[in-house]
Every structure is written in C-alpha cells, then in structure tokens.
C-alpha cells in the first residue's frame, strides 16, 4: 500500500489548485491512501476545503503562528516530524514546493524526484530533464520514503466532492528563528490565473514596450484569458516576472495558448508543450514557434491583434 502525505499549498485563505493536482497524481499510486497536511496560521477553512478533494481520506491540520508565510525552513521540520509511517510525501512543483520539498527530503536522508509527470508504479515515475527535451524513467529506492514534486501541467485537479476526516494536531518540532518573512509583492489582477486559465494569451519581445503590451491585455480580456509572457518580454521589463512562461517560469497547460510576437525559444516551448491548441502570431514565417503551433498566422501583430480582438468581441 502507498501511504501518501501531500503538503497543501495555500495563501492563507484558499488552497492553490496545485494541491488538487498533487492528489490526482498520488491517486495513481497503487493502493493509495492519501492524507493532506495543511500547515497554516489558522487552517480551519483550508482543512475543510482539503477534506472535499476526491480521493483524500484524511486531512491533518497543523496550526502554528510560524506557518503564516509558508517558509521552507519553518515547514520542513514540522513535515519531517509527521513523516513517520508515510511511504510517499508529495508537494507541488510550484515555487512553493520546489523551495520546500528538497529541504524535507534532505532531512529524511533521501534524494527527491522532481516534477513527476507520470506514475508507473509505487517507486517508478517519469520526469522531464534538459528543459523537457528528454523524459527519464526513474526508480526510487524501495526501502526509503519517496519525496517528490508533482508537475502541475501533467495533472487535472481532482473534483471537490469528497468528505475526508479532519484531524487537528500539533507537531513537536524545534523551529528556527533565522528566517523572517518581510513582504510579498503580488501582481494584482482580475484576470484568470495564468496557471489555471483555460485560455492564455502571451506576448513576447516583439511587443516592444510595456505600453504596447496593452494590446495583449485587451485581447486577453476579450477572450477571458490569462496573460503570460516570454522571458524576453519579462527581461525587457514589459511585464512582471510572475507572468513568465517557460522552463524557468511557469509550465502551463491551457486548452488554448495564443503566442503573440514570441519566436519560440526551446525554454519557452518547454512551458507550453501540454497546451491543447497552440496559436502563433508572428511576422517571421521561419520562427520556431510555427513548428509547434496548431494554427499559425504570419503578419504584423500590431494590425492582427486589434482585428482579432474586434472579431472576437463581436
């Protein structure tokens, strides 16, 4: 049997969708019995939400003032203290999980499996390497805890129709005082979240400036889409870092991805491989983005995008 502990990601008010995706991945393990650990300052509502995730049998709620900002140095000792009896400990392959889970793995004396994309067995998985240019099959040691992060884009969130039991517990772990949260500057947006939006419109360096990037937002709004960007557009300062799609930014899998003025560097394509349909709009007919696009349109984005927006808004 696989006894799995999933570390919930949240912002204090609601679970991140990555948690339900971790549950989907864990559900593929043979004879999975899934617990979700909710570490928060006050996790009552979060634990109740986790309890609804289909396939979860137990929610473990750990309230602690030190859990207000989900710092890896605070969480890792608490998770390690709870780890006994679990064969698997999973977290999301988001910046939250990427920061936290290796710290947990090291405390447990194991290597981590990063970015699980396929479950082949209780200790056998597939994961991407070399920016997704090679998929490697890995075998974790059978006699040790499997610590893994789950690649978001490979899984669909489980439904919220379950009703697991919630157990509130306290953890006996010594927490450090060497790490202090200062602030989080989050981009405020009413648009759909980039990582969960069914449609994403992204702009690249060809937009030329932050002002000109506005046409991407307008099109996105007409399509009720989330907005992303290439690394080049972020580096050039047109948009903030959290909008970056690609190997080192966000890996996404929307039903429809519209790449505008993006040439399609390997690092960018890594972030969109799992999209349902890719549309590319670029003036360079030889741009690599057209090699992966389902629908391509060659031309000047500054005339095409407003025309497309008008056509969709009609």
């Amino acid at each position: 049997m696989s006894k799995v502990l999933i570390i919930a990601e949240h912002d204090g008010a609601a679970l991140n969708l990555s948690t339900a995706k971790c549950v989907a991945c864990a559900s593929e393990l043979p004879d999975a019995e899934i617990s979700v650990g909710v570490f928060a300052e006050n996790g009552e509502a979060l634990a109740a939400e986790a309890a609804t995730l289909a396939g979860v049998s137990q929610v473990i709620r750990v309230d602690n003032a030190a859990n207000a900002n989900l710092l890896a140095a605070m969480l890792a000792p608490q998770i390690t203290a709870l780890a006994d009896g679990y064969s698997h400990i999973f977290g999301p392959s988001t910046t939250f999980g990427k920061d936290l889970m290796p710290r947990v793995a090291a405390l447990l004396g194991v290597n981590q499996i990063s970015d699980v994309m396929t479950v082949l067995g209780s200790h056998s998985f597939k994961r991407p390497t070399y920016a997704g240019n090679a998929i490697v099959t890995v075998e974790a040691p059978a006699d040790k805890t499997v610590v893994a992060t789950v690649r978001n884009a490979s899984y669909r969130a489980v439904a919220a129709d379950g009703s697991a039991a919630v157990e509130t517990t306290s953890v006996d772990a010594e927490l450090p005082d060497h790490t202090r949260f200062v602030e989080l500057k989050a981009g405020k947006s009413d648009r759909p979240d980039l990582q969960t939006a069914t449609t994403v419109v992204s702009g690249g360096r060809a937009l030329g400036s932050a002002e000109k990037f506005e046409i991407i937002y307008k099109l996105a709004d007409a399509m009720s889409a989330g907005v992303g960007a290439s690394r080049a557009a972020v580096d050039a300062g047109y948009v903030p870092n959290e909008m970056q799609v690609g190997q080192t930014g966000k890996i996404i899998a929307p039903d429809l991805y519209v790449a505008i003025g993006i040439s399609g560097a390997i690092q960018h394509l890594t972030g969109i491989k799992d999209a349902g349909t890719i549309v590319a709009i670029n003036k360079d007919a030889d741009a690599p983005i057209f090699e992966v696009a389902d629908i391509g349109l060659v031309g000047d984005l500054f005339s095409i995008v407003p025309e497309l927006e008008a056509a969709i808004s009609q």
């Binding site: 290796p102 793995a105 890719i278 349109l297 031309g299």
Partner: protein, 249 residues
C-alpha cells in the same frame, strides 16, 4: 563576511539542443559544448559583486566531478574568483551527495554565504541548495532576484509564482539564484592568463568522509512527444474560423 563559496556545475551548454541516445541510456554528450550552468554563473557574478562592494573578502568556486570540470573552474577564476576547489569524483553525484560534499567543504572553509544556481539545466532537479541548507541547519533563500547584505543578515527578493517575495535571513546562509539577479560579466583574455596562476585545489572525494546517498536510478531516457506543425491561415478571418472549428471560440 570573509568567504563566499560558489558551486559551479559543468553542463551541456544552454544553446545546445540535446538528443536522446537511441538506446535510451542517456543524452548525447560526446563532442557537445560544455559550459558553466548558467544559474551558477549568475551565482558567481553576484558573489563577485558582493566582494567588490566590500561585503566579502574571498570568493571560492567549487565543482564536483572529473578533471574536465577544471575548465569550468578556470572560467570561474577568470571571471574573478580567488581560488578553486575540485572535488574529484568519477561518477555523476546525485543532489543529496552533492549537498553532503558541499557541507563537508562548508565545515572546512566556514563561508558566510554559499551561492548556487537554483537548478542545473541538465537534470533540472532544483534540489542541492535547499538540501545543503537543511543539512547545515541554516537558512535558505531560493530563486533570488536581489541580494542585499546587511551586517549579519541578508535580505533576498525571491521570484515566486505569486510575484516577488522578500525574506531576511541570518548569515551564514544558502542563496540560490534566479535568472534576473544579474548579467554575468564576460571573461577577458588577460583574465584567462591570470586565472592560470590562481590556486586550484583537488580534493579526492574519499578524503571528505562523505556517505554516498542512495541515488534515484535513471533507467531509461526517451525523447518527448513532439507536437506536429499545424496549419497556416491567411488572415484573422481564417484564424477565427479555425478556432471556431475546434470549439475554442
């Protein structure tokens, strides 16, 4: 602080499109250009800037691997590191073993800061820095896009999914670097000559008394499923029609 320790990993150059070997045993590395992992190069650049500001007096670059990894250490010395350490090991080390090796060096050198790239662009693991911080029982500040030393602490801005998070951690600490932290300097020819005279210490792995971790076995490599080139439409009307056809509009 006195010392900053910087890890440099030798990886397939970021401009190379790697190919999976037909027998599935790995990726083609024969005759392929190798470089310093770009994130590690950013870590070294930041360490040099910290030293140049007067917040540290020595930058030590470390690499774990065979003799060939000395190329990357020499490049690091040419960029401006003061000395180099090669931990000689004849097989690829897993992240936990690397973290244990780095911890052994930390205990020897007592750096105020260890700077590593957030991930290596070959295996994309993104683990070693966090693991070192855990084993060392010290803070970690991962995915850094700004690093400010303030006495016995360092304030780090981190690139996270939500935006930019700032944390303050006490030194000594581990910082892992993201892309936008800085732009690494170019190495000039005279620096390459000078670098040849800088000390490069070789430490056999066996001398460090480090236990090798149980590795995660890589049993097969395969190329990813390729997306197929689709259709090119002539105009916006054609695009709208194609999207409607797929039920996407």
């Amino acid at each position: 602080m006195e010392k900053i320790l910087v890890g440099l990993k030798r990886v397939v150059d970021s401009n190379i499109r790697v190919r999976v070997k037909s027998d599935g045993s790995g990726v083609e590395t024969e005759g392929v250009k190798m470089s310093i992992n770009p994130f590690d190069e950013i870590a070294l650049e930041e360490a040099l800037r910290i030293r140049e500001r007067g917040d540290a007096s020595e930058v030590i670059v470390v690499s774990i691997g065979g003799t060939e990894t000395q190329q990357q250490l020499r490049t690091g010395l040419a960029m401006g590191a003061d000395r180099a350490i090669q931990v000689e090991i004849d097989h690829a080390a897993d992240p936990l073993t690397c973290a244990r090796i780095l911890l052994a060096l930390v205990n020897k050198e007592n750096p105020g800061l260890v700077m590593l790239g957030k991930q290596a662009i070959d295996n994309d693991n993104n683990q070693t820095g966090q693991m070192l911080a855990a084993l060392w029982a010290r803070p970690q500040a991962t995915f850094a896009s700004a690093v400010v030393i303030e006495g016995t602490a360092v304030t780090v801005t981190r690139e996270v999914d939500m935006g930019l998070e700032t944390i303050e951690v006490d030194l000594p600490a581990v910082v892992t670097t993201d892309l936008r932290l800085n732009e690494p300097r170019y190495v000039k020819l005279p620096d390459i000559m000078k670098a040849k005279k800088k000390p490069l210490e070789q430490i056999p792995f066996a001398d460090l008394d480090v236990e090798v971790a149980t590795e995660i076995k890589e049993t097969n490599f395969e190329p990813p499923l390729e997306r197929q080139r689709g259709v090119i439409v002539d105009d916006v009307a054609g695009l709208v029609a194609a999207l409607k056809d797929k039920g996407l509009l």
